[in-house]
Symmetry: C2
Subunit: 148 residues, 2 copies
């Protein structure tokens, strides 16, 4: 069974974590857990102050070479009748705040405010690193499943 449109909206608005899959230039799928916020019809994820591997991050390098990406929200539960997942095929754009045009910058500022509201952890962790960078993901296709 599928998730209803209402539940999809609710999960995108409130679920705390997603898994992002991109492709590296050798064609190898790459996954990483991300925090995100749902704003202006896009899924936004910051390159934030949590400790990181490498500069630039693989997710950024991969998206610059190939914008086709996948977002997965799901919950594991020992009661398998409670299982569900939501997969979104997305077009992933890298937004460098300093170089963005006014419309994009204003959308990004809203997303940053949304991230701070959704995650109180950003009171003590920087929401953006230098250079200020966001992943902006536009949904292309939704697919969902629930056990019952």
């Amino acid at each position: 069974m599928k998730l209803s449109a209402d539940i999809i909206e609710q999960r995108l608005s409130h679920w705390p974590v997603a898994r992002l899959a991109t492709l590296n230039t050798s064609g190898q799928p790459h996954q990483v857990p991300i925090v995100f916020v749902w704003r202006a019809g896009k899924i936004w994820s910051p390159v934030d102050g949590k400790p990181k591997h490498g500069t630039p991050l693989s997710r950024v390098r991969n998206a610059l070479a190939n914008p086709a990406a996948s977002i997965l929200l799901d919950q594991y539960d020992e009661d398998w009748s409670q299982l569900w997942w939501l997969r979104v095929d997305v077009k992933l754009e890298i937004i460098y705040l300093d170089g963005a045009n006014e419309i994009t910058r204003s959308e990004a500022q809203e997303a940053i405010a949304g991230l701070k509201q959704k995650y109180p952890q950003y009171k003590t962790t920087a929401v953006l690193n230098e250079p200020p960078t966001l992943l902006a993901m536009t949904p292309i296709k939704y697919r969902s499943w629930r056990a019952k």
Copy 2:
């Protein structure tokens, strides 16, 4: 920071859920949560009796066309100092039990026993659908991260 070899072994042995990323034939990354068991140096996941979309499953169709896949284990926690992930680049093979040679069949039987032991849910859910099919994933590269 990375996870130690001991912790990696422990997570692969006991963590209940992973996310699998494959590639479809249009080059779009595809993700799905899976249950799995770690046996004989491989990550095994069954095409089990949980309700499913489509036949054959996308993950199976994708792997038959392209064995490059990614496995992600991670735990989200509101305390961001507890975050960690383990990513494994894998070569994904589809094992049809009925057509497998003796060595493969014996490995697969061990994996099935391991799945039943790890997941008591298989007392009431079939561990294999028809035709009996397993995903066997051989690790190629490990990458891990923990916040502290």
